[in-house]
Amino acid sequence: MEANLFTSMLFATVVAGTPLVIVALGLLVSEKSGVLNLGAEGMMAMGAVAAFAVTHETGSPWLGVLAGMGAGMVMAFLFGILVLSLMANQVASGLALSIFGVGLSAFVGKPFESVALAAVPPIRLPFLADIPVIGPALYNQQALVYFSWALMWAVVWFLYRSRAGLVLRAVGEAPGSAHSIGYPVIRIRYLATLFGGAMAGIGGAFLSVFYTPLWVEGMVAGRGWIALALVVFATWRPLRVIVGAYLFGGVMIAQLFVQGSGMEIDMPSQVLSSLPYWATIVVLVIISRNAATIRLNAPVSLGQPYRADT
């Protein structure tokens, strides 16, 4: 295979995987505190539309990203009020949030359909981008791609090296015990949920401002759900989440390439389009099927409301 083709496929894979990396890492932090937010799809949609609108009005993609993050956090805060303060069921509330976010974003985004944004130029990292073959693919990318890599190390460091991360894991593991040794369980869960919302919003912003520079209703296209699945099938381990996200991106690009190349394959195109979804899940299930790993990494209290004994 020609080096050029490989470079462009690698480039596209990274771009396609990036929103998943950002969103899934946010969800991972939120789930590690015991909050299961199935509203990722809705938070991403709201983030995408808010980012698009603000970028369109101000001309600044960075203000757009901030707006997307803000929109994700507002959604997450609504969710927090429901499930943390009012102790509503997390699954039902999350589903409602998804439906609400997708619908509201379509409504808010109506005026912006068929408007295009100027493409944001990538940032070329000196020297690194000159490495043959992989340099142009990895180091001549959007700023948010670099952000996603930084985020990955930040999350790993936070969860496994910092005290705050230890407390967060403790809250997700046994909220009752965490309360009894003096940690504010609800406040910590709010912070984790807001972080998850912020990342989902940024992931949405990446889609509408950088990835396609367009707003189309339903453009999130299930990425919120796949991010949720990634976290579970990666058994709540950040590095596996990344592997899964790029795998998804890679298969997505490969099947697009195959479909676009006019190759004769005796298979309906819908099967090819579904390939990234199930390939990612199958691979993650296989690499994470060890029961002990699951037991050690799954937050025990995931999805359960916590009420302090007063």
Partner: protein
């Protein structure tokens, strides 16, 4: 037993009180847990709080520690009225607590668990060293690198105690701290507590072991039904007189007739070896044991020497690769699931009541169904017979004197002793041919413990073969016909209880029984 010549504690120290409680009242939706409780603790005083299950001891301690708040009443800490609104606040005041139901995080290791309870950002490596030092100094052996989920109950308790000691508290609350320690470890713990008290730390000591309270505590407050029924100076009382204050009548004694030995072999372990699933667990090595109809065999040992693994191998929670090592009534059951083993005639009472013995959020009736569905005929052509289920559960509650809100009460709403009575009752009422029980009276008060032991003896007299795995030597000597010791995954030969004594079994517990490999290394022995 803990100390043959109890040295009476010196007179309670004088001085301005460190903690004063006045008229503490705590009302839960369905029950008044504390009703007008007064209590005074001085610096350097070891103060016992005595009471039956449900007497309100744990609630009172939770109020002091800020886990929950009193409905009425005042708390005065070092001369100032305080509202303890959270455990963090309590700790900042200088109050530490060792919980009866542990507040540990299973997926974290020991060091991380301890670090979570300390202020600031301790360096984990230095902390691990500190933990090792404290654990050696106070005779609480535990490896700081181990994951908590792999620890036995006894080891977890050590972690809790170490965690508290590292916070250098001015008031230490200990809820049943010695339930699973060896006699030597209890003695060492007492030295620690006396030393802490001599340094001016006050200690609130909750226990049901009257001899321990006599040996250790300066003063005692006795609770019954949420009220103070008396306070005394334990060194001037007898265990019997304190028991009367506590339960309002004389201490029950187990009646233990001679065993009707010579029955058929009901449970046979024939060269049971099993590598533990947990990298830090204990591997079982070539265990041989026969349990006959109509006898109780006790297995003693320091926690963490393979008890948990042995129980899982017998119950089927960890099925074996081969069939022959576990034989139930002649059936080779090594590869059977727990349910199949129940059908073969075995009943189990696991060590963990909430989570293994019972599902915490399910009602008592539903919990009965879980193990007694066929054993007690609670199914009708494959469907649940709700009437039979309620009836079975109600009978169990009545026969075993379980204090609860009826068959519909959630399992987790019961105190440890009451839930244990219910679980024992559920198993015994299915008339198993073999009953395997782990830690039958852990954290259970005198009255309930005597009741449970008596129930086991009665079951034996009806011809059941019973295997009891316990870390309480007193208990094993009280009920067992034969005693064996587990150490580092190996089982000693058994000896009739009447022909041995605590000293000999104590030596065996460190792995040195006749015929044992001399240089055998024993893990976690105190």
């Amino acid at each position: 037993m803990t100390n043959p010549t109890p040295q009476a504690p010196s007179a309670p120290p004088d001085g301005p009180p460190r903690l004063v409680l006045r008229g503490i009242r705590k009302v839960y939706p369905s029950v008044v847990a504390n009703d007008g409780i007064d209590l005074t603790v001085r610096p350097g005083e070891i103060h016992a709080v005595l009471g039956e299950n449900g007497a309100g001891k744990s609630t009172l301690m939770k109020i002091i520690y800020g886990v929950t708040r009193q409905t009425e009443g005042e708390i005065e800490w070092e001369g100032k009225a305080v509202e303890v609104d959270s455990p963090a606040h309590a700790r900042s005041l200088g109050i530490g607590m060792v919980f009866q139901h542990f507040s540990l995080f299973e997926t974290l290791n020991v060091t991380q668990n301890v670090a979570l309870a300390l202020p600031g950002k301790p360096d984990l490596k230095a902390l691990a060293k500190q933990i090792e030092e404290v654990s050696q100094r106070y005779g609480l052996p535990v490896d700081p690198r181990r994951m908590v989920h792999a620890l036995s109950v006894g080891e977890r308790q050590r972690v809790e105690i170490i965690r508290c000691l590292l916070q250098s508290p001015r008031l230490l609350i200990m809820d049943e701290p010695t339930s699973v320690l060896t006699p030597q470890a209890v003695r060492k713990l007492f030295e620690t507590l006396r030393q802490l008290a001599a340094e001016g730390c006050s200690i609130l000591y909750i226990s049901h072991k009257l001899d321990e309270i006599q040996e250790l505590c300066h003063t005692a407050t006795v609770l019954r039904g949420g009220k103070v029924t008396g306070s005394c100076i334990p060194s001037q009382e007898t265990p019997a007189s304190m028991a009367r204050l506590m339960i309002g009548k004389d201490l029950p004694v187990c009646e233990h007739g001679a065993s009707t030995s010579g029955g058929e072999t009901r449970l046979r372990l024939a060269g049971l070896s099993h590598a533990s699933d947990d990298p830090f667990g204990t591997d079982l090595r070539d265990i041989h044991l026969d349990v006959h109809a109509g006898e109780i065999v006790g297995i003693a040992g320091v926690s963490g020497n393979g008890q948990q693994e042995l129980l899982y191998a017998i119950s089927g929670e960890a099925p074996l690769a081969e069939k022959f090592p576990v034989q139930i009534c002649g059936i080779e059951a090594g590869r059977m699931t727990p349910d199949q083993r129940r059908t073969a005639g075995m009943g189990f009472v696991p060590e963990e009541r909430l989570g293994r013995g019972a599902v915490p959020r399910m009602s008592l009736a539903e919990n009965a169904l879980l193990t007694a569905h066929t054993g007690a005929g609670l199914l009708k052509s494959g469907l649940i017979d709700f009437a039979a289920m309620e009836k079975f559960s109600a009978e169990c509650i009545a026969a075993y004197n379980v204090k609860c809100g009826g068959p519909g009460a959630e399992a987790k709403s019961l105190s440890g002793g009451n839930l244990q009575k219910y679980i024992m009752g559920r198993e015994i009422m299915q008339s198993p041919k073999v009953l395997v029980v782990a830690q039958p009276t852990w954290g259970v008060d005198v009255g309930a413990a005597a009741f449970i032991r008596q129930a086991l003896i009665e079951l034996r007299d009806r011809g059941t073969a019973i295997l009891v795995i316990s870390e309480e030597l007193d208990e094993l000597f009280e009920i067992s016909d034969r005693i064996a010791v587990i150490a580092n995954g190996r089982l000693s030969p058994s000896k009739p209880a009447a022909e041995t004594n605590v000293e000999e079994i104590g030596v065996w517990m460190s792995g040195m029984w006749p015929g044992a490999e001399a240089a055998q290394e024993v893990s976690h022995a105190a």
